[in-house]
Amino acid sequence: MIKITEKPIDIQKVIDATSSLGAGAINVFVGTVRNTAHGKNVVWLEYEAYEGMAVAEIRKIMDEAHSRWPLLGAAVCHRVGTLKPGEASIAIAVSAPHRKESFEACEFILNQIKTKVPIWKKEIFEDGEEWISAHPTTSGSYN
């Protein structure tokens, strides 16, 4: 499952998409909107995706993960649009026979998504807004 959606993420569905009777381990990462960034209050976030390319890049990352670890399933759901603090922006689930590979592959997929997938985040503060990581002076993503 690879999904880009404006609706709240159903984490259980992301997990279920990876289920396998051969799996002993499922690792799940949920990224959530923090209420502060750079010492300022975050009022809300805007996520924007180049959807067709984002899905294609996530597919490549998953294929790479499958080639590195003996995975049984992997699923990614990324939310776009307006998100408030506490809401989930991303859920990744990876199932595998054993725990170690589920942790490693899930962290790999997350790190690759953060560097390669065309999705952008803007933080809206009480007194301004900022596209995260856009400029050398900003401190980058926070989960």
Partner: protein
Amino acid sequence: MKNYLYPMKCRIKAFGITREILNGNELVIELPQGATVADLKRELFGRYPRLTRLSSLFVAVNTEYAPEDQRLTEDCEIALIPPVSGG
């Protein structure tokens, strides 16, 4: 750059901060036939100097990251990819 008979019209999708810098999510730009990703970026940097201040700016052609020397054609789907921040 070589001299070509007529220019290409390329549609450029813009996302995130580049959408704001270009003041729109799509831009149609004329480029010489045979222009590369590097030529497109040079043209855009001239028109929109704020683009030069980004940490990085990649160009995607047909939903793939494109190298600087890749040639563009009118029927390509071209997009500007400022630094990503998903997750």
